[in-house]
């Protein structure tokens, strides 16, 4: 195994070449049968721009270029690398920011300054840094593909597990001593029984469009806890699940993704900024560097990797960035970690497909999108899942994809096709966002198919009553929505008191439970236990108030008591570590009950 060729942009041996014939934006054409392979990575022109072969026929080879093509001339040379577009997998991925084809932006800025220039040649990962390595195998062991042979503390939070590449197996011939090694030094030698031994370094290379193999898939059974009430309680996502967040601009897609990236109980976060704003990536970098993970106390960046292809970076690399992120995620899943991918936004990726498809003059389907949009989306989301890895560990990749529908209209092709392949749909609503109700996830349009799968977990780990309570809240909200239809026509004064109570309780649920303040230190992330107790208090209030209304006490008397406002501000008034305070609220509700009885006797 030739380990040096992993990193260098030099092409070692006599490789195939072609001559540029036509240039149209990021798409270039080569004349004749070049012998290139499909999806092969190529270097284009004198500046050695990175590109990928996307179509081949007898007299023409079509290549998409991941960098700006201005300045390129017909007649310049294109060199094949012999490999599909791949990423390097080794320690150093975490706490880092890459562009769409895994080039570290930090390193690019060291060589190129504040702006990203063309044809920059940097190593994907630092190959001079020595990592402290502890071997977990010994000579004579028989290893299979995926087996862990060494452990490297990559960041304070994460131990990186070096694995045998999936297609290799054999007897370990030699193992180095524990110590500090770079990512490309050969660490162990195995004998696959073919007569030639293979040296294995920490780093391995993997083509981004090929899913990494696993043993088998588990069904969803454990929720990805995000600390966000509307998600955890109302529309939960499972570890290894898929969710879509569609919403027009300004409805809070990015905010929701940031909140999940910050507070979810995944081990690793891969944040893909695909065709979004540069300032947002900067914000994530700054903020995540300062914030600490509530579970481990380490900086959040220690478990995070950012893939940034901002909207002004070349469009072909935008298409690749999603796959780059996925491959990194699968690699950490193989180590037995729970990985969550934030893809913001998949619409930009779909638009990159459309743009390239347009340049290739393919027959468009709906709204100019190529006909293969649905199959690409499904292939993307199907790479998520809770898996048994080749080495026997259990890990998961969860995908949370933002969708930016054109005009905020959910009937457009990307939202519709995404809906077919995700099981969790968090629909963001413009009118909620206008009223600054955040998270603006609308409870009537959203759904989660994981609710059934996860109900056992909730019953065992939170409370047996949890699912029942959740359904009761949903029922109240649904009743509110039909009552509001009537209120819209005739006003709320004419409603009977029991219906007025439903409106009032639904208001408490909306303001006190669904609305969550991302900038409040306690409210930004809430434990499952507190979420349950909040539900419990609201429903207890409802029960007592309903008893009063049934006895004939008017709502105006009930509302003159401050208890409703008290319950709404529980989210601010009860710190996350003082849940015993909920007992006081129960007593307050009882006092309220007595007060109304006495006052109105």
């Amino acid at each position: 195994m030739n380990t040096t060729s992993l990193f260098s942009r030099e092409v070692m041996t006599l490789s195939k070449t072609g001559i540029i014939y036509g240039i149209n934006g990021p798409v270039i054409y080569l004349k004749g049968n070049t012998g290139f392979e499909m999806s092969e990575m190529v270097y284009v022109g004198k500046e050695r721009l990175v590109g990928e072969v996307i179509a081949l026929d007898k007299d023409r080879t079509t290549i998409q270029v991941y960098e700006e093509t201005s300045g390129l001339r017909p007649g310049e040379e294109v060199i094949a690398t012999g490999d599909a577009v791949s990423v390097i997998l080794a320690p150093g991925i975490l706490n880092n920011i890459f562009d769409g084809i895994e080039r570290p932006l930090e390193k690019i800025s060291e060589t190129g300054g504040a702006f990203i220039t063309k044809g920059v040649s940097v190593d994907n990962l630092d190959k001079t840094k020595k990592w402290k390595t502890h071997f977990t195998i010994k000579e004579g062991d028989y290893v299979n593909g995926g087996d862990i042979f060494a452990e490297v503390p990559e960041t304070r939070a994460i131990v990186h597990k070096c694995m045998i590449p999936p297609h290799l197996h054999g007897t370990v011939v030699s193992v180095k001593e524990d110590g500090a090694y770079t990512i490309e030094e050969p660490l162990i030698v195995i004998d696959p029984g073919t007569g030639r031994t293979v040296e294995i370094p920490m780093a391995q290379k993997w083509p981004i469009r090929t899913p990494r193999p696993v043993s088998r898939r588990f069904s969803a059974s454990v929720p990805l806890i995000t600390g966000q009430r509307i998600i955890d309680t109302m529309f939960p996502i499972a570890k290894g699940g898929t969710a879509a967040i569609p919403g027009g601009f300004g409805t809070g897609k990015t905010m929701t993704q940031h909140q999940i990236a910050k507070w979810s109980d995944a081990d690793i976060i891969i944040y893909i900024g695909c065709g979004e704003r540069g300032n947002e990536m900067t914000q994530v970098l700054e903020e995540f560097g300062e914030l600490t993970d509530p579970r481990t106390g380490n900086p959040l960046m220690d478990r995070t990797t950012l893939i940034a292809n901002t909207s002004n970076m070349p469009v072909a690399a935008r298409e690749a960035s999603i796959y780059t992120g996925l491959t990194l995620a699968e690699y950490y899943r193989d180590m037995g970690y729970d990985v969550a991918i934030m893809a913001d936004s998949t619409s930009r990726w779909a638009e990159a497909l459309r743009e390239l498809s347009g340049r290739l003059e393919e027959m468009p389907a709906e709204e100019g999108f190529p006909a293969y949009l649905a199959s690409r989306l499904s292939a993307f989301y199907e790479r998520a899942g809770m898996m048994q890895n080749l080495n026997g560990t259990k890990g998961s990749v969860s995908i949370i994809g933002a969708v930016s529908p054109q005009g905020g209209d959910f009937s457009e092709p990307v939202t519709q096709n995404t809906k077919r392949f995700v099981r969790c749909f968090w629909g963001l609503d413009k009118s909620l966002a206008y009223a600054r109700h955040f998270p603006a996830i609308h409870w009537l349009t959203s759904y989660s198919e994981y609710l059934q799968d996860l109900s056992h977990w909730y019953q065992d780990n939170v409370s047996p009553k949890f699912v029942d309570y959740r359904n009761r809240l949903m029922a109240l909200l649904n009743q509110e929505s039909s009552l509001l239809e009537i209120v819209k026509l005739i006003g709320s004064d004419v409603l009977p008191d029991d219906q007025k109570l439903i409106l009032e309780i639904a208001r408490v649920i909306r303001l006190g439970f669904l609305q969550q303040n991302a900038f409040h230190k306690d409210d930004t992330c809430v434990s499952m236990e507190k979420q349950f107790l909040m539900m419990d208090t609201i429903l207890y209030l409802y029960k007592q108030a309903r008893a009063l209304v049934t006895m004939g006490h008017p709502m105006s008397v009930l509302k003159s008591e401050p208890i409703f406002e008290r319950v709404i501000s529980i989210k601010y008034d009860v710190p996350n570590d003082r849940l015993e305070m909920f007992a006081q609220y129960r007593r307050d509700i009882d006092t309220f009950y007595q007060n109304v009885l006495e006052k109105n006797a």
């Binding site: 390129l72 704003r277 909207s311």
Partner: protein, 476 residues
């Protein structure tokens, strides 16, 4: 040394095809000489072996297949840069049109710019005081932000932009250098003149570089105008350490020029005939705003676009909203009620606001106050809808209070004079004064401590009656 080619192979609208070219490169600029006298420039947009498709910036009128000489310049579209550009006026491709001679500079830059590396960006946090309550209080403009104005034909977006320029730039007491880069794409002569006059009257004309592509100027030229302007802005900001405010008007003309060129190239259209790369193209402009870490200067963008038929879901405002950091939306109904500036606050938004306000920037209560005003004003819309069905008399007392609040909010808070320059304290205090008209238990977005400190119930003026105009807010 450079070869001149005589004649062309074909002409189709602004696109011409030249065969037999040697050593041309993609995106190269070419020069034409027509009939030995008139000079024009164009850009290579497609290249097949020795056949180049060239886009002529000034349009192809008067060119024939025989009368044109073509010369390759050997460089992409470039512009000479210098601090001397301030106070000057240029055409849409950056050539001086004020008879003051060429720009004396050897420094030339590719107008396409390069993407700014996210790790070298600095997250914008300093707010710019515009003196306009609806902006300062509710959609605060941050230095380094891109905040477009979504407007419609006949709405006072130009006046608003001019007021922002006047009050934001002159309000600074610090010694920092500021300048304005103004790019007009396909705007009417009057509009360009209005801006020129405003800059002169407010005494900032020496700090303005104007790039004018007027409505009767060639359409293709428009595609390059914002790029030229932003190249100058980046140079002044990141190399001359100045704070630059860029005004781009009107982005709708820019996008329509793209559609025109795209269709003459025979490309597959996506939405409403616009090319599939409209998003990327808009993004490559809007993303050229921000702050580079370690550099004093900043580029703040205020693009103006007129929404065709006031439709915010039209591809141009829609894609813009996905790229920019918020938007200021103007509303025809408010304008009809003679409220200036007619900013529709509910769909307006500033994404960077949350990090640039509050303690240490403006005042501790700013965020809560803004949230509460938004939420209260959203309820006004509901109350008005209800009133339009059942009549105002039938409304519950609290809904009536909301109607009164809404009217006052629109008149006093949103509405202000074209010359009125409010301080941030005035804006915030006015907000509390208005909230004082609502009962305290309605204020559910404000932290209890802040409420204790700032909330004072106001007695209702006898004169104000609840006469709302139903349906004046396009809320639903």
């Amino acid at each position: 040394m450079p070869i001149e080619y005589l004649g062309l192979s074909s002409i189709n609208g602004p696109l011409i095809v030249l065969e037999g070219v040697q050593d041309a490169f993609f995106d190269e600029i070419v020069e034409f000489v027509i009939n030995g006298t008139e000079r024009r420039i164009g850009r290579i947009i497609e290249l097949y072996e020795d056949k180049a498709v060239i886009q002529v910036f000034e349009g192809s009128e008067g060119m024939s297949l025989r009368n044109t000489h073509t010369r390759l310049t050997g460089h992409p579209m470039e512009i000479a840069l210098s601090k001397e550009m301030l106070g000057r006026t240029f055409n849409g491709i950056g050539q001086p049109i004020d008879d003051l001679g060429p720009i004396p500079s050897r420094l030339k830059r590719d107008v396409n710019g390069l993407p700014l590396n996210p790790v070298k960006r600095e997250y914008p946090r300093n707010y710019i005081r515009t003196g306009i309550s609806a902006i300062d209080g509710l959609t605060t403009l941050i230095r380094g932000q891109k905040l477009p104005i979504f407007s419609g034909n006949g709405l006072p977006h130009d006046q608003l932009a001019a007021q922002i320029v006047k009050q934001a730039s002159l309000g600074e007491e610090s010694g920092e250098e500021f300048a304005i880069v103004f790019a007009a794409m396909g705007v009417k002569h009057d509009v360009a003149d209005f801006f020129r006059r405003t800059f002169e009257e407010s005494g900032v004309a020496d700090h303005v570089a104007m790039f004018l592509n007027l409505a009767n100027d060639p359409v293709v030229e428009r595609l390059i105008t914002p790029k030229v302007a932003l190249t100058v802005a980046e140079y002044l900001a990141f190399e001359q350490n100045m704070h630059i405010l860029v005004i781009l008007t009107d982005m709708t003309s820019f996008a329509e020029a793209m559609r025109e060129v795209s269709s003459s190239k025979g490309e597959i259209p996506s939405r409403k005939g616009f090319p599939g790369y409209l998003y990327s193209e808009l993004a490559s402009l809007y993303e050229r705003a921000g702050i580079v870490s370690g550099v004093e200067g900043s580029v703040t963008q205020i693009p103006i676009l007129t929404m065709p038929n006031d439709d915010i879901t039209h591809p141009i405002p829609d894609l813009t909203g996905y790229i920019t950091e918020g938007q200021i939306v103007l509303d025809r109904n408010l304008n009809g009620q003679s409220i200036y500036p007619p900013i529709s606050v509910l769909p307006s938004l500033s994404r960077l606001m949350k990090d640039g306000i509050g303690e240490g920037y403006t005042r501790e209560d700013h965020q809560d106050l803004a949230n509460q005003l938004f939420s209260a004003y959203a309820k006004v819309g509901d109350a008005r809808n209800l009133a339009s069905v059942i009549g105002e008399d039938e409304l519950s007392p609290i809904d009536k209070e909301y109607l009164a609040f809404g009217k006052e909010f629109e008149e006093k808070y949103i509405g202000q004079g074209m010359e009125e320059n409010r301080t941030i304290e005035e804006t915030l205090d006015l907000g509390w004064e208005l909230l004082g008209r609502l009962p305290r238990e309605e204020l559910d977005r404000v932290n209890t401590k802040i409420l204790d400190k700032y909330y004072h119930p106001t007695k209702r003026d006898e004169g104000v009656t609840t006469s709302a105009s139903p349906g004046s807010i396009a809320n639903k």
